[in-house]
Every structure is written in structure tokens, then in C-alpha cells.
């Protein structure tokens, strides 16, 4: 039986005394008929791609075809090295690595969708920043992706992970919740605390619209991944401190779905509203296409 919601996921982990990542691995083996080694290897390939994208973004710096994004991950790394960071090294490192991933994506580089390409920065960004702090094994890093995947699986089946269907809350919002839950497991927290972290993180992403300038996965997507990464770490810390969400995780996910349903089409990946429709947004669009999309 596949878990249908977060409470079933947590219940299964608690009753079998296994981590969330193990529930996801076992279910994947059951559903696909693949053995453990194959499933773990497939996920490690995803991890390799994420690592390469992060490295490329923070070291080489990339520029998108439109010229709208690129180079900010490098700026952040230099700033961290200066020792003047206010938010602290781990948070800012996660932010820069999330930015790195999305800059590579915008430049049509190779990335792994987590859960989508537009929101691909948050999960790897937080993971590779925490690697330096928590020194996880390679297997623990692969498990981080299964834990993220388990929570994303519930969101995808009960709400949405598509900006066109549910707005940015469904993409960067989901990614932020997924990362928060995985951080908790990596840091040694309980399955219940993972669910709390997801709820706290997603609550702070509710209502976020998908309004990309010129329809490109660049502005504001790259910076939303940046702030998503910082929220994920903060939400995980809150859950690990013992703070709980008054609204249960499954109800937060349901609220996200309903908000997405009532969100106007202009704010769901159509480049018709929000930041895309600002004077500067329209001017950038006209510069890129030669003509604004709304005057075609």
C-alpha cells in the first residue's frame, strides 16, 4: 500500500521504527519491482548531477541566454569568505548553492528536477551546505533525497507541484517543505519533527504566485529558491527545537491546493500578472523578444 498522506508516512516510519527515507525506499522497491541496489544507484546518479550543477554555479558562474540571471552564486561565495555574513555561513552557503543550481538551469545546463526545474535549487542547496556542517556519508546524502522525495510525493498526489496549476507555492513552496523535512532527518530529528518542519516551511510559502518575467524560469525564480533554502533551514531548526505547527502538515498541503485552485490564471505561469506585468518586467520582455507578450 502506498502512503497517501503525511500522517500515514509518519505512522509507517514510527510503527516500523525506521526513518522516512527507508519508508520511501521500501515503497519504491515494492511499486517498481526494482531491488535496493538499483533504487539507491538511481538516486545517487541524481545526487551526482546536483553536485556538478552546484560546483559549476559557485565556481565558474554561468550566464543565461537572456542575460537576466547568472553570477550571483559566485558573488555570495566571495561574500561568505569575507567573513562579514550576517545570516551565518550555513544559511548563506545554502542560499548560494540554491542560486547556483537555478543559474545553471536558467542557462539550459543539466540539472535534476526537485521536484521541478524551476524549484531545483532548494533541496541540493541545503544538502550541500549541510554537508560541510554535518559531514554525512554518501548514503546519508542519498537518503536526504528519498526523504525529500517522500514529502514531495504526498504534495504531488494531494495538491500539485506545477506552477501552471498551483503557482510558485506548488514549486518552490513544495521544495522548501521537502528540504525542511529532509534536513530534520539528516540532523537526527524524528519523523514527526520532519512533518512539523515541512508544515512550518510550507505555511510560509502559501499564496506565492508564479509570475516569471517574460515567462522565463529566471526572475524571480532564482531568488525565490535562495530564500526558500533559508526558510527550509530555519523551519528545520524550529522543528528540532520542539516547536510544532498548530495546523497539521496534511491540512497545510490541502490549503495549498485550494489556494492554487482559486489563484487567477494570470498568476500561474502565464507571464500575464505579478512581477511579469510590472513596467520593468514588460520592458525586459520587450527587450528579449522584441515585442511584449501581451501585445502580440
Amino acid at each position: 500500500m502506498m502512503f497517501r498522506n503525511v500522517s500515514e508516512l509518519v505512522e509507517r516510519a514510527v510503527s516500523k521504527k525506521i526513518p522516512i527515507s527507508e519508508v520511501m525506499i521500501e515503497q519504491e522497491m515494492d511499486v517498481t519491482g526494482r531491488d535496493r541496489e538499483t533504487v539507491m544507484d538511481l538516486m545517487e546518479k541524481n545526487l551526482d548531477v546536483m553536485e556538478q550543477a552546484v560546483e559549476k554555479g559557485i565556481k565558474e558562474g554561468v550566464k543565461s541566454h537572456s542575460g537576466l540571471t547568472g553570477g550571483d552564486a559566485v558573488l555570495l561565495q566571495k561574500y561568505i569568505e569575507s567573513g562579514k555574513s550576517l545570516a551565518g555561513t550555513t544559511v548563506l552557503d545554502a542560499v548560494s548553492k540554491a542560486v547556483a543550481t537555478n543559474e545553471v538551469n536558467a542557462a539550459m545546463g543539466t540539472i535534476c528536477a526537485t521536484p521541478t526545474a524551476g524549484s531545483a535549487g532548494v533541496v541540493p542547496g541545503t544538502l550541500f551546505a549541510l554537508r560541510d556542517k554535518l559531514n554525512p556519508t554518501r548514503e546519508q546524502m542519498v537518503r536526504y533525497l528519498f526523504t525529500s522525495g517522500a514529502f514531495g510525493f504526498v504534495v504531488a498526489n494531494n495538491a500539485s507541484i506545477s506552477g501552471a496549476a498551483g503557482g510558485c507555492q506548488a514549486e518552490v513552496g513544495s521544495a522548501t517543505g521537502m528540504a525542511a523535512a529532509a534536513i530534520v532527518e539528516l540532523a537526527g530529528g524524528s519523523p514527526e519533527q520532519s512533518a512539523q518542519a515541512m508544515a512550518i516551511a510550507l505555511k510560509n510559502m502559501l499564496g506565492l504566485v508564479c509570475d516569471p518575467v517574460a515567462g522565463l524560469v529566471e526572475v524571480p525564480c532564482v531568488k525565490r529558491n535562495a530564500i526558500g533554502a533559508s526558510i527550509a533551514i530555519t523551519a528545520a531548526d524550529m522543528a528540532l527545537a520542539g516547536i510544532t505547527s498548530r495546523i497539521p502538515c496534511d491540512e497545510v498541503i490541502d490549503a495549498m491546493y485550494k489556494i492554487g485552485e482559486s489563484m487567477p490564471t494570470a498568476l500561474k505561469e502565464t507571464a500575464q500578472g505579478g512581477l511579469a506585468a510590472t513596467p520593468t518586467g514588460r520592458a525586459l520582455e520587450a527587450k528579449i523578444y522584441g515585442v511584449p507578450l501581451n501585445k502580440k
Partner: protein, 220 residues
């Protein structure tokens, strides 16, 4: 539940920038190519909803043509696909449609050559996952994640049992199955998702059964 695998969530590995508008589009194009079974001479792609508004910015156009050229989501040739199609003498036409569709990311692909034509409607439902919802006028629901068998048949009793019995005899397991027809007693379509790729001989045997018009397949 629409999403069954963790790799629908963590994955696919792909060329940016958008899982629904780039990777999903490439997959829709590739399923069309796989069903057509050969390189087409001409392709007409209609974009609806968010696809119609933003396809150029997301590279949906190069991705869907890349799929039609049989490129996977991570194939770096995707960014050059329009040029490659031109070099291979495939005529490509794209239209932005105003009509409202049930799903915001919808594409209709028509393709053909001297031997025949094919028309499919695909939707990109998020994270690179797609469904094919229409094939040559038949409604269906095909994920493209599993090998599948598509059988056009006359809407008569026994047609479905014949195919199911043959698959059982060949020890081929059915994972998911749907039947769709345009009207009672006319042509109908069986969509059968199976666990392994199918040999040519299986298709030939199916086409010999009573009431069967044509069998095609999609490989994993």
C-alpha cells in the same frame, strides 16, 4: 494516485530551464515519435494555455521537436533541435491556440508522411511528468512511463478477451488497461501498460486475432 515513483519527484535529470515546459514537452514529443514509429516528413504542433503564452522563453518549442527527433530529456542536442529538424528535412509548423483546455500545459501534435498520419494530445502535469490524453480522436490516459501496447479494434465482444488471453499465454503481465471507443459498435482502442518491452512478433500475433485492426507499442 498520479505520482507513483519517488523518481517522479526527484528527477528527471534534464536540460533546463523548466521541467513541465522543457522536459515534459520533450517527453510528449518523444511519445508521439514512438507511436508514429518513424521519422515524420511534417509536424504541426499546437500549444495551449501556459504552453502557448511562454513556449519560447522555456524552450518548449526546441524541447518538443527534440522529443520528435527521439532525444531524451537530458540530451544536449535539444537546444539545436530546430536546426537538426531542418537538416533532416522535417517541416515544422507551430501554432499558439487561444482555446481553453482542462490542463494549462497542453500540446497537440499532428505528424505524418506519405504512409500515414498521427495526432496526439499530451499534457505536462508537473515535474516533467506527462500524460497522453488523446490519440487519433480516442480518449486515453497514458503516462509514457511504462512499455505499452495500443490496439485499435472493432467494438465487438471477445476482442479484449482475445488480446488478454494471448498476453497471458506469452506470460506478459498487464499493469494498467483502458478501453475507449468513439461510439458503440465502431472502432475502439485498447491501451495496455505492461512490465516489459514487446517484440515485433507479439504485435503480429495480436493483429491476426479476430476484430483487431492494428497494434502498435511504446517502448520504455
Amino acid at each position: 494516485m498520479k505520482f507513483k515513483s519517488v523518481f517522479d519527484i526527484i528527477g528527471p535529470i534534464m536540460i533546463g530551464p523548466s521541467s513541465s515546459h522543457t522536459a515534459g514537452a520533450a517527453r510528449i514529443g518523444r511519445v508521439a515519435r514512438s507511436l508514429f514509429g518513424r521519422k515524420p516528413d511534417w509536424v504541426h504542433i499546437s500549444f495551449y494555455g501556459s504552453f502557448a503564452r511562454t513556449y519560447r522563453g522555456h524552450g518548449t518549442d526546441v524541447a518538443i521537436v527534440g522529443g520528435i527527433l527521439d532525444f531524451d530529456t537530458f540530451d544536449e542536442r535539444i537546444s539545436e533541435s530546430l536546426k537538426i529538424a531542418k537538416k533532416e528535412k522535417i517541416k515544422v509548423k507551430m501554432t499558439e491556440e487561444d482555446a481553453l483546455t482542462d490542463h494549462p500545459n497542453t500540446a497537440r501534435i499532428r505528424m505524418g508522411d506519405e504512409q500515414g498520419e498521427l495526432e496526439i494530445v499530451g499534457i505536462s502535469i508537473g515535474g516533467g511528468k506527462i500524460e497522453i490524453i488523446e490519440l487519433n480522436g480516442f480518449e486515453l490516459r497514458l503516462s509514457g512511463n511504462h512499455p505499452a501496447l495500443l490496439v485499435v479494434h472493432n467494438d465487438r465482444y471477445g476482442a479484449i478477451a482475445g488480446v488478454a488471453n494471448l498476453l497471458a499465454k506469452l506470460e506478459i503481465n498487464i499493469g494498467h488497461m483502458e478501453v475507449s471507443r468513439k461510439e458503440v459498435g465502431s472502432e475502439a482502442l485498447m491501451t495496455i501498460e505492461v512490465d516489459q518491452n514487446l517484440e515485433d512478433s507479439v504485435l503480429e500475433e495480436i493483429e491476426k486475432l479476430p476484430h483487431i485492426i492494428k497494434a502498435t507499442r511504446i517502448h520504455e
